[in-house]
Subunit: 376 residues, 2 copies
Amino acid sequence: MSNIPSSGRQLRSTIKSSGELELTLADVAVAAPSGDEILVQVEASPLNPSDLGLLLGPADLSTLKASNGVVTAKVPDHLMRMMAGRVDQSMPVGNEGAGTVIAAGPGAAAQALVGKRVAMLGGAMYAQYRTVNAADVLALPADASAADGASCFVNPLTALGMVETMKLEGHTALVHTAAASNLGQMLQKICLKDGVDLVNIVRSPAQAKILTDIGAKYVLDSSSANFMPELVAALSATNATLAFDAIGGGKLASQILTGMEAAQAAKGGAYSRYGSTTHKQLYIYGGLDTGPTELQRAYGMFWGLGGWLLTGFTIKIGPEAGQKLRQRVIDELKTTFASHYTAQISLEEALTPEVIRAYNRKTTGEKYLIVPSKGH
Amino acid sequence: MSNIPSSGRQLRSTIKSSGELELTLADVAVAAPSGDEILVQVEASPLNPSDLGLLLGPADLSTLKASNGVVTAKVPDHLMRMMAGRVDQSMPVGNEGAGTVIAAGPGAAAQALVGKRVAMLGGAMYAQYRTVNAADVLALPADASAADGASCFVNPLTALGMVETMKLEGHTALVHTAAASNLGQMLQKICLKDGVDLVNIVRSPAQAKILTDIGAKYVLDSSSANFMPELVAALSATNATLAFDAIGGGKLASQILTGMEAAQAAKGGAYSRYGSTTHKQLYIYGGLDTGPTELQRAYGMFWGLGGWLLTGFTIKIGPEAGQKLRQRVIDELKTTFASHYTAQISLEEALTPEVIRAYNRKTTGEKYLIVPSKGH
């Protein structure tokens, strides 16, 4: 057990009752793993949009300041009410990552992983070390780097979860917004491989090209003057009645439901002022636009809208189905589920105002990777 | 078969491609019933909000004109697009009604109903006569008048459907908006009888009194300055996580979801920026405000919103469960499901501009009944 360090650095985010966000690197004790626990030296952990919410909260990044390794920013007063659940708690951050198992408890499952590279999900990954249960990791193939395995869970399982949700809820094709994202590209690759029609909605010709370059058949630009007729045509061609929306705010969600209803109504049938009886569903899974969602409700009565979250989906399908999805991620790690990173940064760099502003920009196709060993 | 009239008057609504709503009384041929059909002389049929949509469409009632028994009004140009499915079709109106069976086909079920008073659902009830299948009517108790039985289906089954949906989807208490309506009063009576907590939301002290007079425990006025804290308190007390909303437009739907999340979050538990994992649901079943629904999405990821329609619910639960609900309506026709009418009007009066404006006002507690025999 001599290779167990006494402590390691861990990134912490606190929103204080005074209205200040504080980011620090804490030095936390490392305990020897017990039972089926393993101790992993974290080698890579991505900055996903889902991490940024916890890391930065609703802080105003124009007020970012760094001083003696502590970064602060002001949280606008009217947004503090929504932070009640986390006020004055020092919270570790980082949903997923990959690293090498450097010590293990006496359990057989744990011992079998010693020296192996594993992918992990479970928070607190922006750290040098992470103790987890052996059952909660995926052993990576021998040829996989830490960067290859760092984003095994959130984006791949979310993309697979969208296709599975489509099947579970009786739809046969999909719509996706902000579709040129890392996640969106994965979803398009899955759909091409599985023969599922996907209507991609993006906001610029450059984003459209990212998707057509990987073989996307339906790519619509919501800034086009012909967007609505193009949308109805694509929804008619694909019969898509389920959408996943990363944007949330504005009118796009309502436009998609309107387009679905127009496509269904165009099939004919008796008039009903309640619209077509085909259920049209849109799930909001992100919040790129945190403003209000505006619904025009011109789509009869057979429609639904709601939040969608990977963890909720995982609980719904149960551990066995979840394991099948995870195995597929491992099998297609370097193809369907390959991630590309804009930059690899150290824990210290992750707490630099200019770097924070860069990774928070959420530019389509850009993605940052924290490499805790960097600079050490 | 000498009591079969050769023809009868039937109210028709047409929206012409020229942008004009036209209401007329057509004289339609009456055929002898065959098989299990029965011929009913319609004695009473209510003007429900759900009828007004088909009857008047989105016509501008300030432009109503009557001339030689034909009533017309202008449909604003920008609303004609949504009318595509019904343009230039002469449509009969009236979802439900009650009357006496004056002739029947040779089938046993039909013959058994001759001379009986029945309640019917199925459209085209604003007429002197209606031919329906014997299986689609409910025989009324001997002491029930046509007015007692005229509103047997839409409001009673909608109110019962709300409580059944609550049970089916795992909720234990309800929220209802525009709650002092005829339907809302029925829902409150059902909830009192069945021991279900109901949070009623109304828009004036007079409406609140209608509900407290029948024993409502939770009645909130959304125009109160303390509405949000009062809402959260009621949602905490009842643990209601399902709402039925008759209004649709504006911010109330979002406020209710926000209140539900605040009530769930107040229970404690670990902080998650995705909010409580208890699913919060709101169904829009009406459109008293046809403007856009504005969602602030300050309720995490475990929420849903959607359309809800009695016919969709009836199909979902199947004929056996549906029959149980219908039997309950008959059993409690003069108590829980009693309807009160503001005025009884003839078919001719229903096509008078001032009467049309009166019944379209949808004033809480007011309800009109068409009595086709009136004036004849």
